[in-house]
């Protein structure tokens, strides 16, 4: 899927509209019937700094960023354009061009704004020489001039899209349609003129290239969205009507989508003083009878440790989202990593009793968020959905009919007042909320305000009506009962027709690739290529992290001779979890790790796999291979 795929990268200054332009470009391709995937790279600043978005499109489903890219639209950094500021910004303004050349594939096309990049700049980059070496096609177009002629400087983006359309032979009507939907009057007119004029100007370039935009056709209507949307929509469809949060990248995305929509869904959103409060509010709302959620990214999630433990002990259902970014501490605030796995599983004192899912893509994010709500409220446990900067930032096409589901606003294991009238109470009339003798470990709760339901909940160990108790026998019985809930959850997941684990490749393959969460779909693309190259490979993407899918992973690992575990962290946290949970396979499991802030490209996994297998050259770039260490 490399030759015929368009991999278009738009680069410019942060705050230059790169994001919105790329979204429109991606939408136009989607409307043309193609499957689209975007990969986003940006710095932690409001304005300024180099940013890019890659858009990959094909007539077949695309589920990962590609290997490098083949079309660069370098807009230049308008934030660095003030000549007075030159000393301060240094070479910032050429970065959208200079910093994007290393990953541009052979035969690629470069469109740059000759109104911004002056001749000296181009010379300083040895652009022509490098173009010759790599068979690149250079297309300087004065985008700024076109933008100024019909409108304003900011319309350089539109001009760049017009040039792109001409070079890849794409009709401009989808772009015009999108402009028409977003704008009106003079602004709309100006943008369409800029688009057309740029399109015409680009027709001057006469060269042949291999990049084609295939023709596609969607049978049903598709939409372009990220996992942040999918998580939010999953929550809304589960009847979540309360969210509390504090802004932090990349978690802010879900918090924003929920906050913008909850009022119209008769729900409540609260932005609060810190993440301790955020999680505590979600607990308070849930306890009072709302389906509630909160969430954060690594550092903010650390503050939620206390309320998270309180939720486990008081058996207050709640769903938390952890949007990972590179750590430790502030780390790389706008870069991706899967290094919070252990943090999410074990943070807070005492033995963990929580459900944790790591979805890999839009569909899984929606399904698993709904499942997180189902399980949290059926078993009165906290459930956590872990995703990351990668799946937060990438947009994918998904058929909209996927979302045509029934809502599930049930509160789960909750008593009605009629049931409470029949339920067991102590001599003072307190409802026995925490009975020892329940088979699956899960006691239904009562909600404050219900007649006959009053009881105490406490972060202390407690006896049946909630009173604090340090009795050793009660302690053991209550611990065992709470942990029984995880076994019940595992049984329910194992007996379900749908698994959260995704198997890919031929059943009979003897070599394995295994990964979790957001890296899954790139691993699957790599597996396809390895199979096409004659290897005998299958892959497993794991989403259930607690309770761990022991049975499914065991079967997979028993069926392969070797398995490479691919994840974006430095210490192989998922490999470690697997060995801890299964207590074996240590001699089969090696690791391919990446923790430089960038997600894997498929070719990196292919190379990593080949080196593990053949002891060939270790892979280039910032990859780390760790051999199997035994049990």
């Amino acid at each position: 899927m490399t030759g015929e795929t368009l991999m278009w990268r738009i680069a410019g200054g942060s705050g230059d509209g790169i994001d919105s332009t790329s979204q429109n470009f991606a939408k136009a391709l989607m409307r043309a019937g193609l499957h689209v995937f975007t990969h986003r790279h940006y710095p932690s600043r409001i304005r300024g700094g180099h940013t890019y978005v890659e858009v990959r499109a094909s007539d077949e489903p695309v589920r990962s960023r590609g290997d490098g890219f083949n079309f660069l639209l370098a807009l230049g950094d308008s934030f660095a354009r003030n000549p007075d500021d030159e000393a301060y910004y240094g070479d910032e303004e050429i970065k959208p061009l200079s910093e994007n050349l290393d990953e541009l594939n052979e035969g690629g096309i470069i469109v740059y704004d000759s109104g911004i990049f002056e001749d000296e700049v181009i010379e300083s980059l040895n652009l022509e020489e490098r173009a010759e070496e790599n068979n690149w096609h250079l297309c300087p177009v004065n985008l700024r001039e076109i933008a100024r002629e019909y409108g304003r400087d900011v319309m350089r983006n539109t001009a760049g899209v017009g040039v792109t359309a001409a070079l890849i032979g794409m009709d401009t009507h989808y772009f015009e349609e999108l402009i028409g939907e977003a704008m009106s009057g003079d602004i709309k007119e100006a943008n369409i003129n800029v688009l057309q004029s740029a399109y015409d100007r680009a027709s001057e370039f006469e060269f042949s290239h291999d990049i084609e935009v295939p023709s596609g056709d969607h049978e049903t209507e598709h939409g372009l969205m990220s996992c942040s949307h999918a998580i939010s929509y999953g929550a809304l469809d589960s009847g979540c009507r309360f969210i509390a949060g504090y802004p932090m990248t990349p978690w802010t995305d879900v918090f924003t989508i929920m906050s913008q929509n909850l009022p119209a869904f008769d729900g409540i959103s609260e932005q609060v003083e810190d993440e301790i409060a955020a999680a505590a509010l979600a607990l308070g709302a849930s306890h009072a009878g709302a389906k509630a959620m909160s969430g954060s990214s690594g550092g903010g999630f650390a503050l939620m440790s206390e309320p998270l433990g309180l939720a486990e002990m008081t058996e207050t259902p709640v769903v938390l989202v952890e949007a990972m970014r590179a750590g430790p501490s502030t780390g790389l605030p706008t870069k991706t990593e899967q290094s919070d796995l252990e943090h999410v599983l074990y943070t807070s004192q005492g033995d963990s009793c929580r459900v944790v899912f790591a979805p890999a893509n839009v569909r899984e994010a929606y399904e698993q968020t709904r499942l997180a709500f189902d399980l949290a409220y059926d078993y009165n446990v906290p459930a956590i959905v872990v995703y990351d900067q990668k799946t937060q930032g990438e947009l994918r096409t998904v058929p909209l009919e996927f979302f045509d589901r029934d809502p599930s606003p049930e509160l789960g294991a909750v008593m009605t007042e009629d049931e409470l009238a029949e339920a067991a109470h102590d001599a003072s009339g307190k409802f026995k909320r925490y009975r020892h003798d329940v088979e699956d470990g899960s006691n239904p709760r009562s909600i404050p305000g219900q007649k006959g339901g009053r009881h105490l909940v406490t972060g202390n160990e407690s006896q049946e009506v909630g009173h604090i108790s340090e009795d050793p026998d009660n302690r053991k019985a209550q611990m065992d009962r709470r942990l029984q809930k995880l076994k019940s959850v595992r049984d329910r997941l194992d007996s379900s027709d749908e698994s959260n684990q995704t198997f890919h490749g031929p059943d009979e393959a003897t070599l394995g690739l295994m990964t979790w969460g957001s890296t899954q779909d790139t691993v699957f693309e790599a597996a396809d290529r390895l199979n096409a190259d004659g290897y005998d490979v299958k892959a497993l993407g794991v989403s259930d992290l607690m309770p761990y899918p022991e049975q499914e992973v065991t079967e997979f690992l028993e069926s392969v001779d070797e398995c490479l575990v691919v994840e974006m962290n430095a210490t192989g946290q998922f490999r470690g979890l697997t060995q801890k949970e299964l207590g074996r396979f240590g001699d089969k499991l090696s690791s391919l790790l990446k923790y430089d802030g960038e997600p894997f490209e498929p070719r990196e996994i292919v190379e990593g796999f080949e080196s593990t297998l053949d002891g060939a050259e270790p892979p280039a770039g910032n990859l780390v291979l760790e051999p199997a260490a035994g049990d």
Partner: protein, 311 residues
């Protein structure tokens, strides 16, 4: 019809109804001021015609946190310093509940100080009782945020070099709309003030002086007390922020000189947070907690209007 019939307009109850019929008996020390809070709270609830099943009492950690064990209602004994965020969300999810939060001075003015400031600022319609005994009691007598300067303890062996927090002024500056101080030694006033605080629409903060005879002062040291509303020396308008501020300053300073000034310090009529939020259209007409039990609710889905922008 409400799914929560424990929530009533007016209920006939007595203090017995708010007293657990069986264990546990309070573990507070003899002579502890905490008994007075428990009594005053029961009395206030009876006075106001509340029933145990419409009250949600959220407590923090410490001797004061045990309040929810000895008071019969829906109780949430939470974690150190976090009673307020739990309490205010419960009130938002079900505004029909009578929500009271309680904790010690370390809980509210120390570890939970950030929540105290913001809950006051937002003016949530809840009552917050701070058991102020100027000491950490349960952990055996360490210096607390309200301990006087120079206070010696195992963790401040040479005497604290810190000035104490001024809880009333902090509350006023943060935005609380009802600020009062009462004392365990004055049970009649305590019940009156708690009843007023519970009735108040907005964030009502009661700094409740509770002697700790084991680790700090005994009850004798909180008498005589002066009710600022009864005293000729104090003639200030409780609705005037500047005058209230002066009176608070005096009460806070003079406490450490052995003079106990109690009463209402600030009472402001302004819309509570849920009312403000209703104004901006971000608070549903029907309580969120009621929606799940109401079969007539049509549950909107993402597919009902959110997908168009993705096409």
């Amino acid at each position: 019809m409400s799914a929560f019939t424990g929530i009533t307009e007016d209920s006939e109850s007595d203090k017995e109804a708010f007293t657990p019929g069986v264990e546990p008996q309070p573990t507070w020390c003899p002579g502890c001021g905490d008994f007075a809070v428990l009594n005053a709270l029961k009395g206030a609830m009876v006075e106001l015609g509340r029933s145990p099943e419409e009250v949600m009492l959220v407590t923090g950690i410490g001797c004061s946190g045990k309040l929810s064990s000895y008071f019969e209602s829906y109780g949430y004994h939470s974690i150190h310093g976090r009673s307020l965020p739990i309490a205010r969300a419960a009130k938002l999810a079900n505004p029909g509940l009578e929500v009271v939060a309680a904790g010690g001075d370390g809980d509210g003015y120390g570890i939970g100080g950030n929540h105290f400031m913001h809950t006051a600022r937002e003016n949530h319609d809840i009552t917050y009782i701070v058991f102020n005994n100027e000491i950490f009691g349960l952990t055996k007598g360490q210096t607390s945020p309200t301990s006087p300067k120079g206070h010696k303890s195992k963790t401040q062996p040479s005497g604290s070099a810190k000035d104490p927090v001024r809880p009333l002024s902090l509350s006023l500056a943060s935005g609380a709309s009802y600020v009062a101080r009462t004392a365990a030694t004055n049970p009649r006033q305590a019940q009156e003030i708690l009843a007023e605080a519970i009735e108040h629409d907005g964030f009502a903060h009661v700094d409740f002086l509770t002697q700790c005879p084991t680790w700090n002062k005994d009850a004798k040291e909180y008498v005589p007390y002066t009710d600022v509303q009864q005293s000729d020396e104090f003639d200030f308008d409780v609705s005037d922020r500047r005058e209230a501020s002066d009176a608070m300053y005096d009460a806070e300073s003079r406490l450490y000189e052995g003079e106990v000034l109690t009463g209402r310090f600030f009472v402001q009529e302004r819309p509570s947070y849920d009312a403000e939020k209703r104004q901006t259209g971000e608070m549903p007409e029907q309580a969120v907690a009621e929606q799940y039990f109401d079969d007539s609710v049509e549950w909107r889905r993402a597919a009902d209007g959110l997908l168009e922008k993705h096409t």
